[in-house]
């Protein structure tokens, strides 16, 4: 870890009482859903941290991670923060406590740039952000059903559409094509293929 990253890590530990994880030259801070908004406020405003910019926020569905049964929370939101003043970055992860109704506080009051990112995470993963002023779907079609980036949503989707010349309108029907996987997904044990 570079001295600069160490300084940020120490500052985070001192000010927030949570130890960030350093890997590959990046710091990751995990917070509970209850502390999420308060932590975000501190991260932006404290002079030693000064994360003025939220570059990215995305939903993650951990349900099939590593192809093994999952213990713990299913949905998470991962934000990437940037401080222009100090020139450092931080990854902020928060798990949704309830997988049946994933609910998190909205950061739109802290970083206005999060507006569309939260709409995207809502659209694709169904994570609801409490306090968001305009939580509409953003990328999928008008009237779309389901949250397509969840791991249990098939890549082909559920419906296909075509123009019906008799009814003179677009009709939706169940998908007719077979799902296929060209290259199977394989998780190898650690250090597979090294030595020997």
């Amino acid at each position: 870890m570079t001295p600069k990253l160490q300084r940020l890590s120490d500052a985070l530990e001192r000010l927030l009482g949570a130890k960030p994880v350093a890997r590959l030259g990046e710091l990751t801070l995990e917070v509970s859903a209850g502390d999420y908004l308060k932590t975000a406020q501190t991260l932006r405003d404290h002079a030693e941290l000064r994360f003025e910019e939220l570059m990215d926020l995305c939903g993650v569905d951990y349900s099939t991670y590593g192809d093994r049964p999952r213990q713990g929370a299913r949905f998470a939101a991962v934000a990437h923060l940037l401080s222009v003043t100090h020139n450092w970055r931080l990854r902020l992860r928060v798990f949704c406590p309830d997988a049946a109704f994933p609910l998190l506080a909205s950061l739109v009051e802290v970083w206005p740039s999060v507006n569309w990112y939260e709409r995207e995470a809502f659209d694709l993963f169904g994570i609801v952000f409490e306090g968001h002023p305009d939580l509409r779907r953003i990328l999928t079609d008008y009237g779309f059903v389901g949250h397509p980036f969840r791991k249990d949503f098939p890549i082909l989707g559920h419906v296909e559409m075509r123009y019906d010349p008799e009814q003179k309108r677009v009709v939706y029907e169940p998908v007719t094509i077979e799902p296929r996987e060209v290259t199977p997904r394989v998780v190898r044990e650690a250090h597979y293929g090294e030595g020997g």
């Binding site: 590959l24 910019e53 991962v78 970083w111 999060v114 890549i155």
Partner: protein, 417 residues
């Protein structure tokens, strides 16, 4: 007294000034925009979901199709993220080639952006001039990768192949005289590097031409000065990056602040605006083209003198040469594994950002150790910039909303992903 109500207008999705498939719902009071609500997603292809079904290398060509104006920069973030996760060393020559093509891409993007901004505001000549130069750069793409636009040239661990020794030439046609043909092929006699060097020699003069047409042009200034003003504080809060942020006076450039590849070895300046309006962003982009030209020149000089490998010799990530593959059992196994199962990337997560011509483009990977990414997130600058559309267009005239869309420099492949 007649009742006066705001008028709602559908701008797009098929409108030439919408830069693709943007449906913009504008609420107008007379001709003044009260609210702009962009409806995006008409080009949503779920690239991130598709990447979860494909091996690490199979998703690379999708990166070209995100921002189809500046293709190789998106590839760059993608391979950088994989290299970070897997700890792959990239040969120095490959790093120079990547920087060379990143900067060629930047010039290409800004030429297109300038052409589109010009065309939207009624300056047709600039459009034609810019596309003339852009064509030469597309020829560089074609010479190196075989494709004019969707290059798929970068690979985890380097680039697909070394720079070619010959430049493709124009063929004889019944519409071309022998003299015209010779003139067209005049700068294509040598290698690709000769062609690029010739380009860098004449390009500053071309930029002067665009500036003669626009910079002091009264109509141009009336249409751009004071349009879509963003203060530095607001630009940071809205998550801006790239020329959008620099136009507002924040000297933030990843190539300088968080240098990747060989940018720390190269000499260039960062252009910064003062007022944060469309005119300043136009000036920033023009200056960036000049600086890119300098970088390209330095890369060409270095690449001439330093031959070497262009892709990693770790055959767990990069395929062995055909010759080795046919002569050596071990390499045959590597080749077979790499093209059937694909490479494995260690468990972990990485966020790799590059200074894309439009702003910060980043790829965030979560890997669970499989031969496919567990989750890929693309941080596209255009998505973020378009979300500020409402704030930037409010209070402007309808015609200026077009200028605002254009100054955001958005491409819908990138916004919708």
């Amino acid at each position: 007294m007649a009742e006066i109500r705001n008028y709602t207008v559908n701008f797009g999705p098929q409108h030439p000034a919408a830069h693709g498939v943007l449906r913009l719902v504008l609420e107008l009071d007379g001709e003044v925009v009260q609210r702009a609500d962009p409806h995006i997603g008409l080009l949503h292809r779920a690239t991130e979901k598709l990447a979860e079904q494909r091996t690490w290398i199979q998703s690379l060509p999708y990166m070209d199709r995100l921002d189809y104006i500046s293709m190789m920069c998106s590839e760059h973030a993608y391979v950088m993220a994989i290299e970070k996760l897997a700890g792959i060393e990239v040969p120095i020559r490959a790093q120079y080639i990547r920087v060379l093509f990143d900067e060629i891409t930047r010039v290409m993007n800004h030429l297109f952006g300038l052409a589109a901004l010009g065309l939207d505001l009624g300056a047709m000549t600039v459009f034609l001039y810019c596309f003339r130069e852009r064509e030469d750069l597309l020829d560089c793409y074609e010479a190196v990768s075989g494709a004019r636009m969707h290059a798929a040239y970068y690979r985890p661990g380097g680039v697909y192949r070394d720079l070619p020794e010959t430049m493709p030439q124009y063929q004889a046609q019944h519409t071309r005289s022998a003299r015209t043909l010779a003139a067209m092929n005049d700068n294509r006699q040598g290698s690709l590097l000769d062609f690029i060097e010739d380009f860098t020699a004449r390009f500053p003069k071309c930029i002067d031409d665009y500036e003669t047409l626009l910079t002091e042009n009264r109509i141009w200034k009336q249409r751009t000065v004071g349009i879509g003003v963003v203060s530095p504080e607001r630009a940071l809060a809205l998550g801006f990056s790239g020329p959008m942020l620099r136009g507002s006076g924040v000297a933030w450039d990843l190539r300088k602040k968080q240098p990747y590849e060989v940018y720390h070895r190269l000499d260039f300046d960062v252009a910064v605006g003062t007022n944060g309006d469309t005119y300043d962003r136009y000036l920033v982009r023009v200056e960036e083209m000049r600086q890119s030209n300098r970088i390209i020149r330095q890369c060409v000089d270095w690449l001439r003198q330093n031959p070497g490998p262009v892709i990693s010799d770790n055959h767990k990530v990069a395929p062995p040469s055909r010759l080795e593959m046919k002569a050596n059992m071990e390499e045959l196994i590597h080749h077979f594994k790499l093209f059937t199962e694909g490479m494995h990337v260690p468990e972990g997560e990485a966020y790799a950002a590059v200074e894309h011509p439009k702003g910060e483009f980043a790829v965030y990977f979560i890997s669970d150790g499989a031969n496919k990414p567990y989750r890929m997130k693309l941080r596209s600058p255009a998505f973020c910039h378009l979300s500020a559309m409402d704030e930037m267009a409010r209070g402007h005239m309808l015609a200026d909303a077009v200028a605002v869309i254009s100054t955001l420099d958005i491409v819908f492949g990138d916004v919708d992903r």
